[in-house]
């Protein structure tokens, strides 16, 4: 865009004077390429050049008509463009090289919270950046607002209101047939995904979301079923209660009850449900649920964090047995997170990092620069599905929306109260003794043995058979348990996201995943393609990956017109139905049988992913050198963004030739797509996206303040329970939608390529 104004495409010299209180000003000189230097980039250059940690203001020098020197504030990309233009014009008039003179004024460090309030009113800025970073890949320069007005307008309208109202009772009935069977399960999830559930309905609908029931039950059958399960629960609970009553407890029982007791006494105590004295009956219920679960799932046992997961279930169900059943269903998906081997969590971190790398490489690199790319400050977010990051009531909404984005697992329904022991192939012998002590009298031994055998032999083969049996619910659920991915390398590998190669894991799980899904895929592929083409058409006005700049601009205009129309009608329903349509098509047919397009094109990819562990230090050094702005040299153009992309490519994203080849053909965004393997690890992109959204929404703040690792972690800590759930969800949905869109386009290209071959 700078070229439009007619100034040269050459580098522009920049002279900066830093003023801080009464201290003597410091000077720096460097050059930038106006084509690729956005305001944000300039800010980060300045922060680096002067080693600024706090906030600072930038002004640029101009001469007024009388030739008087004044400083104009430089606050945005527009200002920066104007500043470049001024520099160029001045240079032309006196026939010299263009030179931009800046002044940096330090502001005192302010409390983050104030800024947050302001930020809430200015979400657009985040949005501009997010969009540009993805769509304007060929020229990462932030061109300002007018390139993407449609999204912005849409954003403004939607940011603080959910795309649709929560699921209401009358609406819920529409998804049922006269006998109470859920006939439109997918659609039901879709509705919840967009609007959540009316609080009064949660007690009923959460059970569906958590796959508590086997498929196809009528209302009456469900009632019988839950009654039966509740009785089973009471039996299980009485077993250990008797053991406690009989005499002094020791060993595992004592250990477990001790751990659980400590934690239930400090779980959500600010909530009226658990408030008051420690004798609160609800605390006792929470204790019972967790203890029963731990003793009957010895491989998982109890781990801190579980009380946070069980607590909202108990509050919502307001019934101990029902909450227990829901908790078991939830743990079906989440138990691996609590495994001592850390494999599942490592994988989640990998996905989060990949997602961030894809959505916002610049921020990712910022994190990397500050050695925060291990993202460990997100640990609790991932482990507890963001439950603690929001106010309690908001977290319920967050959870149900997340859950609705998970696949329906037909047949999983009969989550066994008794023995989903097969959570992991990680065998912890200490729990076996407990198992012997407390289980045998109460549990179905054969089922236990069966599931044990399975847990020792978690092979893709055994997973494939999932869903075929009808009655034997326990074996079914163990079969279907997508819990243990083929362990990457050694099971002892500890959680070290930075040094464990993401690709290694990815490749394993991809293979795994593809095996599970291969048969489904073959059936669905042809029909999917149609859907995808339709979807791609729908989105094509927004984004075409290989479009040239001019075509792109045209399309954007077209899309703008389209969107203006939408906004005129101003009915959220419209957008909702449109998006919903897309989602209905995509979310279930496409995403949930996700496969790695890269893998598909080159089946050997996975095997090639022998990625050498890069020592952390090395990676950091590699990164540091190009990105640090040399304050004195500055004859050569500084191209921060390009360098950043370059490094991210070198270091992380594309270490294998097959992928590189693909990159050239379909351009970066596709290759950079995070490869989520939903069935394997139980994270959906939506989940990861909410985390990303939360990090993302603070990225400008973090970057502008030049926060280091400590400040970042503490910043997010301060934000606990203060995130706006609607906003976060809306943006996460958008990211998810974009992810799906990109994926479908990528997928389509690959299909087409395959056909060509």
């Amino acid at each position: 865009m700078s070229g439009v104004f007619g100034y040269s495409r050459e580098a522009v010299r920049v002279k900066v004077k830093k003023c801080e209180g009464s201290q003597p000003p410091e000077m720096r000189k460097f050059s930038v390429d106006p084509q690729i230097t956005s305001f944000e980039v300039l800010q980060s250059i300045l922060a680096k050049a002067f080693d600024l940690k706090g906030d600072f203001a930038i002004c640029y020098r101009v001469y007024d008509i009388s030739g008087h020197e004044t400083y104009m504030p430089l606050l945005s990309d527009w200002d920066l463009d104007a500043a470049f233009l001024k520099a160029y014009n001045t240079a032309a008039s006196i026939n010299s090289e263009p030179c931009l003179c800046l002044r940096v004024d330090l502001k005192p460090f302010e409390e983050c919270s104030d800024d947050w309030e302001i930020r809430q009113n200015l979400p657009i800025i985040t949005q501009i950046r997010t969009i540009t970073s993805q769509e304007a890949k060929p020229s990462p320069r932030l061109h300002g607002i007018f390139n993407h007005p449609l999204i912005l307008v849409r954003m403004e309208v939607l940011l603080y209101s959910p795309p649709r109202p929560p699921l209401s009772d009358s609406e819920f009935r529409k998804f049922l047939d006269p006998v109470g069977q859920i006939v439109y399960a997918k659609e039901l999830r879709s509705v919840i995904y967009f609007g959540g559930i009316d609080p009064s309905l949660r007690k009923v609908v959460w059970k569906h979301l958590l796959n508590v029931y086997p498929e196809g039950m009528t209302g009456r059958e469900r009632m019988d079923y839950i009654k039966k399960k509740a009785l089973e629960y009471v039996g299980l609970r009485e077993t250990w209660k008797t053991a406690i009553a009989q005499g002094p407890v020791a060993g595992e029982l004592a250990y477990t009850t001790g751990m659980v007791r400590k934690d239930v006494l400090r779980t959500d105590r600010h909530h009226p449900f658990y408030a008051g004295s420690d004798d609160n009956q609800n605390i006792a219920s929470l204790f019972n649920i967790l203890t029963t679960y731990a003793l009957n799932h010895p491989k998982v046992s109890y781990c801190q964090g579980m009380s946070d997961l069980a607590s909202p279930l108990l509050v919502t169900m307001n019934d101990e047995a029902h909450a227990y059943i829901c908790f078991c269903a939830l743990m079906q998906r989440l138990s691996t997170n609590f495994m001592i081997d850390g494999i599942a969590m490592t994988q989640k971190f990998t996905h989060l990092a990949e997602g961030l790398m894809y959505y916002d490489p610049e921020f990712y690199n910022y994190l990397k620069l500050h050695q925060a790319d291990d993202l460990l400050f997100c640990y609790r977010w991932l482990l507890l599905e963001m439950k603690r990051e929001f106010a309690f009531e908001d977290s319920l909404r967050m959870l149900e929306v997340l859950w609705s984005s998970f696949p329906l697992i037909p047949g999983q329904g009969t989550e066994t109260v008794q023995h989903s022991v097969s959570a992991s192939n990680h065998i912890d012998t200490t729990y076996q003794s407990l198992n012997n002590k407390f289980k045998h009298q109460s549990l179905d031994d054969s089922a236990l043995i069966r599931s044990r055998n399975k847990s020792n032999d978690v092979s893709p083969k055994s997973l494939k058979t999932g869903g075929s049996t009808k009655d034997d619910s326990s074996s079914k659920s163990s079969d279907l348990l997508p819990i243990t991915p083929i362990s990457p390398k050694s099971p002892n590998e500890t959680l070290r996201p930075r040094s464990v190669s993401p690709l290694e894991q990815k490749s394993d799980s991809v293979v795994f995943n593809n095996r599970i899904n291969s048969h489904q895929l073959q059936n669905k592929r042809s029909s999917n393609l149609k859907d995808k083409i339709a979807t791609a058409k729908l989105f094509s006005s927004l984004d075409r990956l290989d479009a040239t700049q001019s075509i792109k601009e045209e399309e954007e205009k077209e899309a703008q017109r389209k969107n203006e129309k939408e906004v005129d009608e101003s009915k959220l329903d419209l957008l909702e139905s449109e998006v919903k349509e897309v989602f209905d098509k995509l979310r279930y047919d496409d995403i949930f049988i996700w496969e790695n397009p890269l893998h598909q094109t080159s089946p050997s990819t996975a095997n090639k992913n022998i990625f050498t562990h890069t020592p952390d230090e090395q990676a950091d050094i590699d990164y540091d050198t190009p990105s640090i702005v040399n304050e004195t040299s500055a004859t050569k153009t500084v191209t921060p963004i390009r360098i950043l992309n370059q490094t991210s490519k070198d270091n992380t994203t594309e270490p294998n030739p097959a992928e590189d080849e693909l990159t050239q053909e379909v351009q970066e965004p596709i290759t950079a797509l995070p490869k989520y393997n939903i069935t394997v690890n139980g994270t959906t992109p939506a989940m990861t996206n909410s985390c990303e959204e939360v990090t993302e929404s603070h990225r400008d703040h973090i970057i502008s303040k030049g926060m280091d690792y400590n400040e970042m972690a503490m910043h997010f800590d301060k934000m606990v329970r203060r995130h706006n759930v609607i906003r976060v969800l809306n943006q996460a949905r958008q990211m998810y939608a974009r992810y799906i869109k990109q994926h479908s386009i990528a997928h389509q290209k690959i299909e087409l390529r395959n056909e060509d071959c």
Binding site: E20, F50, D51, L52, K53, M259, K262, D263, R266, T267, R269, H270, C303, Q304, G305, S307, D308, F338, I340, D341, G342, M345, D374, L376, Y379, R380, L383, L384, R388, T494, L495, R496, P497, R498, N710, A713, M714, D717
Partner: protein, 209 residues
């Protein structure tokens, strides 16, 4: 504000059984607040505080870890680069004292400091405001002596008793540790200097020839 001078950052890890008061100690020290309602720490949290040790201002970064050993798989990431390790037990709960050995060993294995036998630990016996007491000072001190004279403090995070003093000792130990590590690193530039000084002399030789 001298931005040019490199700030000293001391990384301190607090370890110990669940609910011995790690979070409370950290918050008492940094924020001078106590709450009965801290939640179980998941993963790790940390706070920082500026302290003056021997006329030197340093930033202490205090890592509060989860007490359940299940989270120890995170250890490597969290323990790396620690300058001091604070072990905490509850003077009213004997099992929290008994597990100190394993916490210490675990730390040494995971963090693998350069000189494990000289790595600074500090032991805090917390909750001295509570009765009945299960671990006497004598017993705790004996343990400390057996571990190369670890400094021992009896604290109450609730009443803020001894917390300030304990953390000052922690900071001092951490700083000493960091200085000793720096000395090790400083050998490296020295070697370069050596070659630098050799170079001109060899040049001089060649010129003379």
């Amino acid at each position: 504000m001298s931005s040019s001078r490199k700030k000293v950052l001391l990384k301190v890890i607090i370890l110990g059984e669940s609910s011995v008061g790690k979070t409370s100690l950290m918050n008492q020290y940094v924020n001078r607040k106590f709450s009965n309602q801290y939640k179980a720490t998941i993963g790790a949290d940390f706070l920082t505080k500026e302290v003056t040790v021997d006329d030197r201002t340093v930033t202490m970064q205090i890592w509060d870890t989860a007490g359940q050993e299940r989270f120890q798989s995170l250890g490597v990431a969290f323990y790396r680069g620690a300058d001091c390790c604070v072990l905490v037990f509850d003077v009213t709960a004997p099992n929290t004292f008994k597990s100190l050995d394993s916490w210490r060993d675990e730390f040494l294995i995971q963090a693998s400091p350069r000189e494990p036998e000289n790595f600074p630990f500090v032991l805090l016996g917390n909750k001295v405001d509570l009765e009945p007491r299960a671990i006497s000072s004598k017993r705790a001190q004996q343990w400390c002596q057996s571990k190369n004279n670890i400094p021992y403090f009896e604290t109450s995070a609730k009443e803020g008793l001894n917390v300030e003093q304990a953390f000052l000792a922690i900071a001092k130990n951490a700083l000493a540790q960091q200085n000793s590590t720096f000395d090790l690193y400083n050998e490296f530039p020295d070697q370069i200097k050596l070659t630098n000084t050799q170079k001109p002399s060899s040049n001089g030789d060649s010129c003379a020839c």
